[in-house]
């Protein structure tokens, strides 16, 4: 098939960037979307032009490195599919395809289609872990976890950290990402000791990093390549409220005269 591609080109963080149109013939329907871009890049290099920079690594839908906005949709038109797992059989001869980077305040563009997502790593530093020292664990089977709970935790834990939820959100919120992490741990016994701290700190960090607020657009759920449900956002909200309201002795266990 033949395609017309409108691709965002931007030299570096400072450059303003613009769309450039390319024509590509002989696209095979078995190709993946990224293989189609590989072919374009080979042609550009052979012509003496600069290839299009885009991020990718595993090409199996699990590392979360890839992520392009394709015709307005983060990761393209197929539900539950990362860009690298999208195949050209979902397009047809003569199609015009617009390809852009994630666009969000918290993800500055580095070059062409590559963005800086280090804000997600920084969010994780605010409690996206269980504080357990290597070697101090008890036997793994000592703590029973109901299968349903563990499966639900896994539903949340499957997040690949690609940032599509942020890119799709009109407010640029990272709620789905944060809620997946908070819920994953809140559902498991191992996450209990730090449950409240985690909810409060991660929500606070989200604001500090310049992510927007959630106003229930639900776009994030629709584009999540791992189909993570916004039910977890509901869970995060409850976790946050419960954590914010201190009860009885939680306000302090020692008497101090003013």
């Amino acid at each position: 098939m033949k395609l017309k591609l409108n691709i965002w080109r931007q030299k570096n963080r400072e450059d303003r960037g613009e769309f450039v149109t390319y024509h590509l013939d002989d696209v095979n329907s078995h190709m993946s979307f990224l293989e189609m871009l590989d072919v374009l890049n080979q042609q550009l290099i052979e012509k003496g032009e600069q290839p299009v920079a885009f991020e990718h690594d595993c090409r199996e839908g699990i590392c979360g490195a890839c992520g392009l906005v394709i015709n307005g949709y983060p990761h393209g038109p197929e539900e539950g599919t990362t860009t690298c797992q999208l195949h050209m059989r979902h397009f047809k001869d003569g199609d015009e395809i617009t390809i852009e980077p994630w666009r969000s305040k918290a993800f500055p563009v580095v070059k062409d289609l590559v963005v800086d997502r280090s804000s997600l790593d920084r969010l994780m530093q605010h409690g996206g872990f269980v504080s357990i020292r290597t070697g101090s664990a008890e036997d793994a089977n000592n703590t029973l976890i109901p299968k349903e709970k563990s499966d639900l935790a896994m539903d949340a834990a499957e997040c690949i950290g690609c940032g599509a939820c942020v890119a799709s959100c009109p407010n640029g919120a990272a709620m789905l990402f944060v809620s997946a992490k908070v819920s994953h741990f809140a559902l498991l016994p191992q996450g209990q000791p730090e449950r409240k701290r985690r909810a409060i700190q991660m929500v606070q960090a989200m604001q500090d990093e310049g992510f927007g607020a959630c106003t229930n657009y639900r776009e994030c759920e629709a584009v999540c390549p791992k189909r993570i449900s916004i039910n977890f956002i509901g869970m995060l909200n409850r976790e946050f409220i419960k954590a914010s309201v201190l009860s009885g002795a939680e306000k302090g266990g020692k008497y101090r005269s003013k």
Partner: protein
């Protein structure tokens, strides 16, 4: 080259315990004074960096991706082994040790493997405590599945994303230390050289992949955990960025490279469809638990699978290996698939494929149960091929997957260069000539969480303190060499792209150093590789500059190293005149076509030493002693 494995005294069951009891310790105050470089944030590097920082060391960690969480370990699907014996099916540390030594076709070091089996149980405890949501039974206990090369069910898993969950566990431990200020994380930073001062590893030279800035880092010890080099074949199941540069640079600085020819070909990958193909996708080995592998009995049978009656199907693994059936080790399964296709029983458009059929499993367990076990793998298959494996059998074919070879290390996981430690897939230590499924994750985490904290301490306790920093001339010299090399890649200004060379290199290796190898084929390969190398350095085209994000330049450096490594790989395969595990030399096989070892002459690790530019590399050997497991002809019949 001095190769002392430094195996502790005592019976195998006591070696590690004795070692830990006697090993020198570093006091907390002194740990703070020690800086450690960890290159790689996969299971091995991530777990090492986190644990060392917890202990109090000052850690600088590096990865080439934009985040530590994206290391290639994330892609592991099927599971991780441990000798918990939760299934009460006869498993034990001894049995895991035995299976691993036998699975590796008696080309690994017994003491290392025993220790691996020993710490395997701690790994599961650790990961569960971190909140890794392993699969569970209704009673709330952990579930297990079986993997190839074992008759017990010892594999722990998290759906088809075990590597992801384990890596996110290690990453969370790492990020906790980043938050605590004990780890300084350098993403999008590629190590391009190792720096030695007075014969010890004292630092690295890196390039910032966004700005192009070349910068040195100094330390008291350097840990490489940079993964495998399967991408030397171009098409493999590895991530596109997986590379050999870090270990290759270390090799050129004097580190021994062990068994470079030991490469694993995974039997169940989605077959290639065209020339544009950029990678091959693995379908987890766990599928062989319930899927049955077959080909049509008739040659070139073009009927669709569901029109081929039972009587016309050959379930060749079940037929040839009745006791292990579809669960024979990877090397055996891969070779059998190749044989069937060579004899024109292959399926699919290219004839390079065999069926992996779930019809019986769906009948036996119901579609829902199959969906629960393998749902995401089936989805992935359908996304890539457009075919629904609940209805038609999957088509699979072997692909390059894992490298057992790597930098040589002793029992301390230290290479022959003092202060250079190598962990995970980047080292050679535990899997001999063939790795069993679900054992790489185990090894990476064993190395990082439970072994390096002791062995690194031992090293540091015995060396002095100095105030060496990057102003030492060894760093400026190495930086200079790195910059020169980058400039020369950009200066070639030829006509062919990096990918063109990489693809051609891959074809040479796949044809001559792949599933079966011959004396002549390997000699041809060495010649062809030399020719490619010359052409590369005279006709490569790298667009752009070295001052910004330049993905072609990154690839060019990696492929330049792959070309050199390919030569060593072929030489190693040529010199090992026997068949063992994944290394199959057509000249050496039993009457039934199984690998024929030559224990008298080859019960050793081949450790290659860099001979200088243009000079031949030198082959050294570390003899292997088998005191606990008897050397036998592997049989899975």
């Amino acid at each position: 080259m001095k190769l002392d494995a430094n195996i502790p005294e005592g019976p195998i069951e006591k070696k590690w315990e004795n070692y830990r009891d006697k090993v020198a310790l570093v006091s907390p105050a002194n740990k703070r004074k020690r800086k450690i470089i960890v290159v790689g944030t996969g299971l091995a590097g991530g777990s090492a960096a986190a644990t060392l920082a917890e202990l109090g060391y000052d850690v600088e960690a590096f990865c080439y991706q934009d985040s530590a969480r994206r290391a290639h370990s994330i892609a592991a699907q099927g599971g991780i082994n441990a000798a918990k014996n939760y299934q009460n099916d006869g498993d034990s540390i001894w049995r895991l040790f035995y299976d691993t030594v036998k699975g590796g076709d008696f080309r690994s070091r017994e003491a290392n493997v025993y220790r691996l089996a020993e710490v395997s149980n701690l790994i599961i405890d650790q990961c569960v405590a971190q909140g890794v949501p392993f699969a569970r039974e209704y009673g709330g206990k952990l579930a297990n599945r079986s993997f190839g090369g074992a008759q017990v069910s010892r594999t722990f898993y998290a759906r088809g994303q075990t590597g992801q969950q384990l890596l996110l566990g290690a990453y969370s431990a790492l990020i906790r230390q980043v938050a605590a200020g004990k780890v300084k994380m350098h993403p999008r930073t590629e190590m391009l050289d190792l720096v030695l001062v007075d014969g010890r590893a004292r630092g690295i030279v890196t390039r910032n992949l966004e700005t192009g800035k070349v910068r040195s880092f100094s330390a008291d010890a350097v840990i490489l955990a940079t993964g495998g080099y399967g991408n030397v074949f171009y098409l493999s199941t590895n991530a596109k960025g997986s590379n050999a540069t870090a270990i290759w640079r270390a090799y050129k600085r004097g580190a021994g490279f062990a068994n470079p020819g030991f490469v694993q070909i995974h039997p169940t990958c989605i077959p290639k469809t065209g020339d544009y193909q950029s990678k091959l996708t693995l379908m987890s080995e766990s599928l062989r638990n319930d899927g049955r592998i077959w080909v049509p009995k008739k040659k070139n049978d073009k009927r669709p699978a569901n029109e081929i009656p039972e009587s016309d199907r050959d379930y060749y693994l079940e037929r040839r290996y009745p006791s292990f059936g579809n669960l024979v080790p990877r090397d055996v399964a891969s070779r059998a698939a190749k044989n069937m296709c060579d004899e024109e029983h292959g399926v699919g458009l290219t004839g390079l494929g065999v069926y992996l059929d779930f019809a019986d499993a769906i009948k036996r367990l119901g579609e829902q149960a199959v969906r629960e076990r393998y749902g995401n793998l089936f989805e992935m298959y359908e996304r890539i091929t457009g075919e629904d494996p609940y209805k038609v059998p999957m088509r699979i074919y072997p692909a390059i997957h894992y490298t057992m070879g790597g930098l040589w290390v002793d029992y301390n996981l230290m290479s022959n260069i003092e202060g250079l430690f190598v962990l995970g897939e980047a080292n050679f230590s535990d899997h001999g000539a063939n790795r069993l499924g679900a054992s790489a994750l185990m090894q990476g985490l064993a190395d990082g969480y439970f072994i390096i904290p002791y062995t690194l301490g031992r090293y540091l306790a015995n060396i002095g303190y100095d105030d060496l920093d990057v102003s030492h001339s060894a760093f400026s010299d190495a930086e200079h060499q790195v910059t020169e090399r980058i400039s020369s890649l950009l200066a070639i200004k030829g006509k062919q792209t990096v990918d063109t060379f990489h693809r051609r290199l891959g074809e040479i290796l796949w044809d001559n150093c792949g599933m079966s190898r011959t004396e002549q084929g390997l000699k041809d390969a060495i010649e062809k590789i030399a020719a490619i190398r010359e052409e590369f350095w005279s006709d490569l085209r790298v667009p752009g500059t070295d001052r910004d994000l330049n993905q072609e330049l990154e690839k060019a450096g990696r492929v330049a190293d792959f070309i050199e490594l390919a030569d060593l790989l072929a030489r190693d395969a040529l010199e090992r005149r026997e068949s063992c595990g994944g290394h199959f030399r057509e000249e050496f096989q039993t009457e039934e076509g199984e690998a024929l070892r030559d224990d008298e002459n080859f019960t050793h690790v081949a450790v290659w030493e860099y001979g200088g530019d243009g000079a031949e590399p030198v082959r050294n050997v570390e003899p292997l002693q088998f005191e606990n497991v008897k050397l036998t002809q592997r049989s899975y019949k």
